[in-house]
């Protein structure tokens, strides 16, 4: 009897992560600026200057001590791309300093992704269950109606 009570009940609850309360992004520290190699790439040989009108700009950052390279060309503004590249680099550097273990924020983002996937699955499962219940109910009603009709016919005879 005692043994039955000791079976492995599933008592684990996952703490939900809120998108608005993620751990902060790793900050880019100004000391790293000296260890950086910044390159702007506009690509292409041949003529430049007024002859050509390019709208994209690419920034490449290399962190010399670790050899990490990040690139950014998301926006049209070189200034903005430089800032985004530094944020990206800060995330990578914090991971590198942490012996390859992802920063708390990365971990939380990953968890959040899994969690939202789970909840989506659950919702879609529940949707099927609900629909099935509805269908069953309708079927039942139909059968009852038929039986009622049959009974009526039989009574009439």
């Amino acid at each position: 009897m005692q043994l039955y009570w000791k079976r492995n009940l599933h008592s684990h609850m996952v703490a939900n992560i809120k998108k608005r309360q993620l751990p902060p992004r790793p900050k880019f520290s100004p000391d790293w600026e000296t260890e950086l190699e910044e390159k702007f790439l506009h690509g292409g040989r041949g003529p430049g200057g007024q002859k050509i009108n390019k709208c994209n700009s690419k920034v490449q950052l290399r962190h010399l001590p670790s050899g990490i390279v990040v690139e950014c060309q998301e926006t049209r503004s070189r200034d903005q791309n430089r800032k985004i590249a530094r944020e990206k680099l800060a995330l990578k550097i914090s991971q590198w300093q942490n012996d390859g273990i992802a920063a708390a924020r990365n971990e939380a983002m990953h968890q959040w992704g899994k969690q939202s996937k789970r909840s989506k699955e659950k919702k879609s499962r529940e949707k099927h269950v609900k629909h099935r219940a509805l269908r069953d109910e309708q079927e039942l009603e139909r059968i009852q109606e038929e039986q009622r009709l049959l009974e009526l016919i039989r009574n009439g005879e």
């Binding site: 200057g49 007024q50 009108n53 709208c55 060309q73 998301e74 926006t75 503004s77 200034d79």
Partner: protein, 293 residues
């Protein structure tokens, strides 16, 4: 420019119906996707996005469609009839800007200012500087005015024809003269320049050869402490260096150098007085480019 392969067009079409319209300008699907993202971000209705993509297919410049171009930390408004600021100009302007001491009230004049990107950016980041922009085009001046208003800075704008009369634009001594003159020669204009430039941008701001460099030597050298001129071809820089080293008066006073852009093309010819009043220009331009005189 080689044609776009039909295979690539079909692949782009399968991803998004608008992508093939952007391919002739962007060349690759990745770049086209990025550009479509920018267009969608700045234009509101799907119809506007479609129109923009159709115009891009005709090589209409993106900056005229979105009506702006980032330049350093500012956003420069762009309109048809005024040259769009180039990344090369941004590159050297930001470098010059970082060399200007931020506690001195320096005076700066920008000739052929166009959108006014150079004086507005410098005034924005060095509020003590006194910036003047000069252009001959009515449209350019109106846009420069809009630019300074939009960025909340006070820049003096003058409508003058520099080639015809440079002598009475300004009487006082100027610390720094910048200029991005039209520098594409007529022969290379049809050969080298891209369709979007050739067809849609103003020729007044593009075609020229030595006029503005001659004008610099004749009219501006005695009145300025330093100059920075963008060039399209090494011959224009060589002309300036030759003229300065030829004249015994200038040769003694001036140092001249050339700066390349990041694609290693000569892009800027600059010069400074070896001894200047306001602050040390030789120190300011140390490491800016390579000195030739």
């Amino acid at each position: 420019m080689p044609r776009i392969e039909p295979k690539l067009m079909a692949k782009a079409y399968s991803l998004n119906k608008l992508l093939p319209l952007l391919l002739p300008e962007c060349r690759t699907i990745v770049d086209a996707k990025r550009e479509l993202g920018w267009i969608k971000k700045e234009l509101t209705t799907p119809f506007q996005v479609l129109r923009a993509c159709q115009m891009r297919f005709m090589h209409y410049p993106l900056q005229y469609i979105l009506k702006s171009q980032p330049f350093g930390i500012i956003d420069v408004p762009c309109r048809r009839g005024v040259l769009i600021p180039r990344w090369e100009t941004e590159e050297w302007t930001v470098d010059v800007l970082n060399r200007i001491p931020d506690n001195l009230p320096i005076s700066l004049i920008d000739l052929c200012t166009g959108t006014g990107c150079i004086p507005v950016l410098i005034k924005k980041q060095r509020s003590l500087a006194h910036c003047i922009g000069v252009d001959v085009s009515e449209k350019a001046l109106a846009l420069a005015k809009r630019n300074s208003k939009q960025n909340g800075v006070d820049v003096t704008l003058l409508k003058r024809d520099i080639i015809k009369d440079s002598s009475n634009i300004i009487s006082k001594h100027i610390d720094l003269l910048t200029c991005n003159p039209p520098y594409i020669s007529k022969e290379t204009f049809t050969k080298d320049s891209r369709a979007s430039v050739r067809v849609f941008e103003p020729r007044l701001a593009l075609i020229g050869n030595l006029e503005f460099y001659q004008n610099l030597i004749q009219h501006w050298l005695p009145r300025v402490d330093a100059f920075v001129y963008e060039i399209g071809d090494i011959s224009q820089a060589k002309y300036i260096i030759a003229q300065i080293s030829k004249s015994p008066l200038h040769a003694r006073l001036w140092s001249v150098g050339i700066r390349s852009d990041l694609n290693d093309l000569p892009r800027v010819v600059y010069g400074f007085r070896k001894e200047s009043k306001n602050f040390d220009k030789a120190n300011m331009f140390c490491g800016f480019g390579r000195l030739y005189h």
